[in-house]
Amino acid sequence: MITKPDIIKPENLVYKRTDLMVDTTLSYCPGCGHGTVHRIIMEILEEMDIQQETIGISPVGCSVLAYDFLNIDMLGAAHGRAPAIATAVKRLMPHKFVFTYQGDGDLAAIGTAETIHACNRGENITIIFINNGIYGMTGGQMAPTTLPGMKSSTSPYGRDVQTMGNPLKITELVAQLPGTCYVTRQSVHTPVNVRRTKKAIRKAFDLQKQNKGLSFVEVVSNCNSGWKMTPVKANKWMEENMFPFYPLGDIKLPQE
């Protein structure tokens, strides 16, 4: 007969919440992917034992308060400017690990110049880009990555590309630039995808350690509040609509 004390032993531990996540309630909606990506990054920092060596840059958007949840030193950026801030931090402290955490409006609309130029200069940083095709925090407006025909509060009849422009595949765009060494697109809506994303972000941090240049990890995510769906339905909608337009997988691999 196995008793409870027999089971609760360090050697039997299969999963533990990382101490690098601050013990507090996240501000994200139930079902949102942000919390999962936060946890993955912190697990990686814990595994690499680089909490003290890491400086994160948080954006403006739903994850504006990321610095309250991630137990590392962080700088909150003005909207879209995280890659410029990360550039300076990394250049002034090249031995630190520096990453930005940005949403689609932040990275692909207002911060497009900062994103492209940091990528093109090949700054030795990691950009983590959460793409849910909508402005979540301000209440579900059209984003640079909103799909054609997709409804939002500022495209209530669906995105009309004739008048509202096309969604921007910025990840494919930055993959063209010589400064990026690793560009990939992942998701966190199933356990297997969570593991793939974790592998990708770990790879990005490993490449930064090797001074290989800029790694860019897009995570296609959901926004059940903004999309006005249940979490389960939002994930299904994401698979059926987002993934065909934003296909998952590696776009650019580091050269050996």
Partner: protein, 361 residues
Amino acid sequence: MKELRLMKGNEAVAEAAIRAGCDGYFGYPITPQSEVLEYLMAEKPEERTGMIVLQAESELASINMVYGGAGIGKKVMTSSSSPGISLMQEGISYMAGAELPGLIVNVVRGGPGLGTIQPSQADYFQSTKGGGHGDYHCIVLAPASVQEMSDHVKLGFDLAFKYRTPVIIQSDGAIGQMMEKVELFESIPRWTDDEIVKMSPWAATGKPPERNHLRITSLNLVPELEEELNIRLQEKYRRIEAGEVRYEEISCDDAEYLFVAYGLSSRICQKAIQLGREKGLKLGLLRPITLYPFPSEILWKLSDRVKGILCIEMSAGQMVEDVRLAVKDKIRVEHYGRFGGIIPSPEEVLKVMMNKIIGGK
């Protein structure tokens, strides 16, 4: 051993930055200040002191790089001219809100809009009254010579870190471009990372086990906390106003009539005083060196003794408002200025002094 050199104002800023132990310069070309970035690139400060120099993709990126460097406790700066400084207002407001030190050099040109590339002083309101959104001030230094272009870099960094606030050096296209003799100060070593951790415990240098994680931000979603921050900022500005006013009195002892002018205009007024005194007119000059905090107290005192004040600015009259606030209605205060890059002559301002103030009713 004094080191004397003949330099442009912009070059003096760049050399002073290296000597002041600056860790990073981030900038974007714009006339009439491009020599700052050019001098730094040619000088290879990374080899001299380890200082980083980066040409950014815009002034927006430049000021946010300054925000990033300041957030980790480094001595960082940028420079630009008026249209570029307008673009930087977002970042300067965020730096004021997050209480970050940093140095911004504005080699002012005529505006509004793209304006002209010639010297102007029309950015006084923007520099001294906030510039970006929210209730804040930057400390504003106004060099009147190439010597002060150099000295104010060192002073600016000292003040920025003393008060954890952005500091602006407000120069103009003439001071930036003209060559004068400058005595360079001795180099100060850059701070080590350990020194930064000790001196600036607020800096986000990476979380060690013994302290909580740090957040550099200007965001407070709770209004009571945002009010608390604003009260703290206002207390800081009162301390700055009490302790950091700088000015120069020229021929003020027996002056009956006073010029108030800063930067290039103060140089013109000095010549006008000389011309006026040759005619027997007792003229003096109060030159604000800090535009914020403004030397109001000395102006209040001087207004007991002088009969009238003429403000000379290369603008439509911006500083004159602060002069009027300082002396209230005690004596006559008038403004004279030229715009769009036109520099008034000493004869011109003397004539205005004689007609508008001495002979004016």
